[in-house]
């Protein structure tokens, strides 16, 4: 039975990762995954040297023992955010004559198939083989590996258990997250204790007393058993599913947008789309994080104004780029409805402009505190803000007419490749390069200010001629509408 399950699992994996994607996307995906994998592997292979650099006064084995628990603490936080519950996949088997133990065992087992369970192994095992094996011998190396696998599995099942609990009661998640943050701040902020010392206390003793390996093994086994028992007792769809128990959903309004009539209504709908669905919401949240992007560049005098243009464009326009690149896909699920409704496509486009302008304006206001690093930075931001709402919005919408990949709004954003196609690869070139095509010729001949003025001027011209671009985009869309609608209908 388990082999049949595994066969289905493999099929599900390959078919969900590969269907509907072109060769180019698959190659880029594979390269990215290999790159990530390679980075971690490199870090693992040179961990001894990295540790020697970071903690020059300590013995590397001591520092190594110190960081392990610290790693698992952050690992737990990451898992809470990113690891997905392997749940609904059992739905098709629940009503079939298959023993509950088999189904639960399968569920608990597939929970191990997560990238998070690969990282600690490639990160730590090379060090253990290189240093601990040669210094202390085979037995300590073996118990080290076992202990790391033990902690890894403990974390794995702990995160899943908390997530399952949190699905039924949102407070569980908050309490757990608060506890984790308290543990970390207790160490790094208030210096009440040191996780590194605790980690060394355990792993240091593990070197001399291999029996201690039983601790993580028992912990992992217990956690696995708790999970298993809990799942077995609660093998009902509503408790398994990753959907949260729903609270009362009330209607909301954006009075500010009412002034814009039908265009405002459309923009209000799109705002609701963003706030009420997981993936677009994370695009927005990511945009907020990007507000700190400037700290990397402005604190370092090494970067000049040429960089500021780039940073300014990203900070005031990250939403246009991250949300806009998938445009109309967000509405793919109800695109037929939009086409049949009495919506003028020009209004539809104007609503997009309105949305982008609003979000960019907010982003620009949020970045004004960077005036601390000089008013010139705010000036560059303002120029790039004009550029974003003038030029970049139009570029993004031009590509949106060519994008026919559906997106399932309810899925999370991390490692989600749905909706990614050639459009997203192509769109980055004009977005990144065009401002420099205008700016660089001037700045290279020591007239950077003229270049900046040209950027601002182009932005303003595009804003003033918006109606013209809306008309052009509409004509363009009318040609492509059948292809786009057809693509969205293909689930």
């Amino acid at each position: 039975m388990i082999t049949t399950f595994l066969g289905h699992e493999l099929k599900a994996f390959w078919r969900s990762k590969n269907t509907g994607k072109s060769i180019a996307i698959r190659v880029v995906m594979a390269l990215l995954i290999l790159y990530l994998f390679g980075c971690i592997l490199l870090a693992g292979l040179f961990l001894n040297e990295i540790l020697g650099q970071v903690f020059p006064h300590d013995d590397i084995v001591v520092s190594f023992c110190g960081i392990i628990l610290l790693y698992f603490l952050f690992d737990l936080m990451m898992r809470m955010q990113l690891q997905e519950l392997p749940t609904l996949r059992v739905q098709p088997y629940l009503h079939l004559p298959i023993k509950r133990n088999t189904v639960v065992g399968y569920l608990a087992f597939t929970a191990m198939l997560s990238v998070f369970n690969l990282w600690p192994i490639i990160l730590f095992v090379p060090f253990i083989l290189k240093v601990i094996l040669t210094d202390s011998g085979a037995l300590p190396a073996l118990v080290f590996i076992l202990a790391i696998i033990g902690f890894m599995l403990f974390n794995n099942y702990m995160a899943l258990f908390i997530k399952r609990k949190a699905n039924l009661n949102g407070w569980v998640f908050l309490v757990f997250a608060a506890a984790l943050i308290l543990i970390i701040t207790g160490d790094f902020r208030f210096h009440l204790y040191s996780v590194r010392n605790i980690s060394y206390l355990y792993f240091g003793h593990l070197l001399t007393k291999p029996v201690l390996v039983l601790l993580p093994v028992v912990l992992a086994a217990t956690m696995y058993y708790i999970n298993f028992a809990y799942l077995k007792q609660n093998l009902y769809l509503e408790e398994l599913s990753s959907r949260k128990a729903s609270a009362y959903k009330s209607s909301t309004e954006f009075p500010l947008l009412n002034r814009f009539g039908k265009v405002g209504d459309l923009a209000a709908n799109e705002l609701k789309l963003i706030f009420r669905n997981k993936r677009p919401r994370s695009a927005l949240v990511m945009g907020l994080f990007f507000m700190f992007y400037g700290l990397i560049f402005y604190t370092n005098s090494h970067y000049g104004q040429t960089w500021y243009i780039f940073v300014g464009m990203f900070m005031t326009g990250i939403f246009i780029i991250s949300y806009g690149q998938f445009m109309y896909s967000w509405q793919g699920a109800h695109f037929d409805g939009l086409l049949v409704s009495k919506i003028n496509f020009r209004d539809f486009l104007k609503a997009k402009y309105l949305l982008f302008t609003m979000v960019s304006t907010v982003a620009f206001i949020l970045t004004t505190p960077y005036a601390y690093f000089g008013w010139r930075i705010v000036l560059v931001h303002f120029v790039m803000y004009l550029w974003n709402i003038g030029v970049n919005t139009t570029i993004v919408l031009f590509f949106a007419n060519r994008n026919a990949k559906r997106i399932d709004l309810s899925k999370g954003a991390s490692f989600n490749w749905e909706g990614v196609g050639a459009t997203q690869m192509l769109i980055s070139f004009p977005l990144m390069i065009t401002p420099y095509i205008i700016y660089l010729p001037f700045s290279l001949f020591k007239h950077a200010d003229v270049g900046l003025a040209m950027l601002a001027g182009t932005g303003i011209i595009f804003i003033l001629t918006r109606d013209f671009w809306v008309k052009k985009l509409e004509e363009d869309f009318i040609q492509k509408r059948y292809t786009v609608a057809e693509g969205f209908r293909n689930k």
Binding site: K249, K262, N269, K272, H334, D336, G337, V340, K342, R489
Partner: protein, 238 residues
């Protein structure tokens, strides 16, 4: 109201719709029946200009549908959940649709009050987004959104499929009322032969993309359709 000329749609070399000529007059109630894959939904989509026909054209009030938007003023349709904006609450969706036709909220509220029975207390003020409603209740939202638009042409694709028996009867009465008392042209598809012969005055039977029968409903229509769809029961094998 609707005129179809030499309409043809081909997918991967297979003709899925082939209608040389079809005329639907104003005020008619037309029922579309046929097994899965007969081309009912494809025909609907072409009338709504959602897919491009290989050849031929569809006229609505003497104007080609493709590339024009005038028909949107008087046409309302609900084909599937893809017509609903599923992250809105039903109320928000109704106000939005009403707004597109420049109806204010009081007007929308009035229409919705008239639909209280049809909703059966399961749609309004339930604190759910449309995506959290059952398929049957989503269908109710879709039909109600159509009625809000005060259409002259109403198109529903298998509206009876997911709704409960009470709602089926209410929907039938609603459709009859719209057609007979308000002169709305209705085109409805269904697999339920009883319902469709009850509601519609004219039945179009499709098979593999072709309209093979075009009958005015009479007392013998149901039998005729049952004879067509009835599959001979094979004698038990020995």
């Amino acid at each position: 109201m609707i005129e179809v000329r030499n309409l043809k749609k081909v997918y991967n070399g297979i003709t899925v719709v082939d209608v040389p000529a079809l005329q639907i007059n104003k005020g008619e109630s037309v029922g579309l029946v046929g097994n899965n894959g007969a081309g009912k939904t494809t025909l609907f989509r072409m009338v709504l200009d959602l897919i491009r026909a290989e050849s031929g054209e569809i006229l609505s009030n003497d104007e080609t549908v493709a590339g024009h938007e005038k028909w949107k003023d008087y046409t309302a349709a609900y084909l599937d959940e893809g017509f609903l904006i599923d992250y809105l609450t039903p109320e928000e969706y109704f106000y939005f649709i009403g707004g597109l036709h420049s109806h204010n909220r009081t007007y929308v509220d009035e229409v919705l009050v008239g639909l209280t029975d049809f909703f059966n207390g399961e749609i309004l003020k339930k604190g759910k987004y449309i995506r959290d409603l059952s398929k049957g209740n989503q269908c109710k939202v879709g039909v109600a959104a159509c009625l809000l638009q005060e259409p002259q042409l109403l198109m529903l694709d298998e509206p009876f499929a997911n709704i409960d028996p009470s709602t089926q009867f209410r929907l039938k009465n609603l459709l009859k009322d719209l057609n007979r008392n308000k002169g709305v042209t209705t085109i409805v598809s269904s697999h339920d032969l009883n319902h469709i012969t009850d509601v519609c005055d004219r039945i179009l039977l499709m098979e593999k993309g072709v309209i093979i029968k075009d009958i005015a409903t009479s007392s013998s229509t149901l039998n005729e359709l049952e004879a067509y769809f009835g599959v001979e029961v094979a004698p038990p094998a020995h």
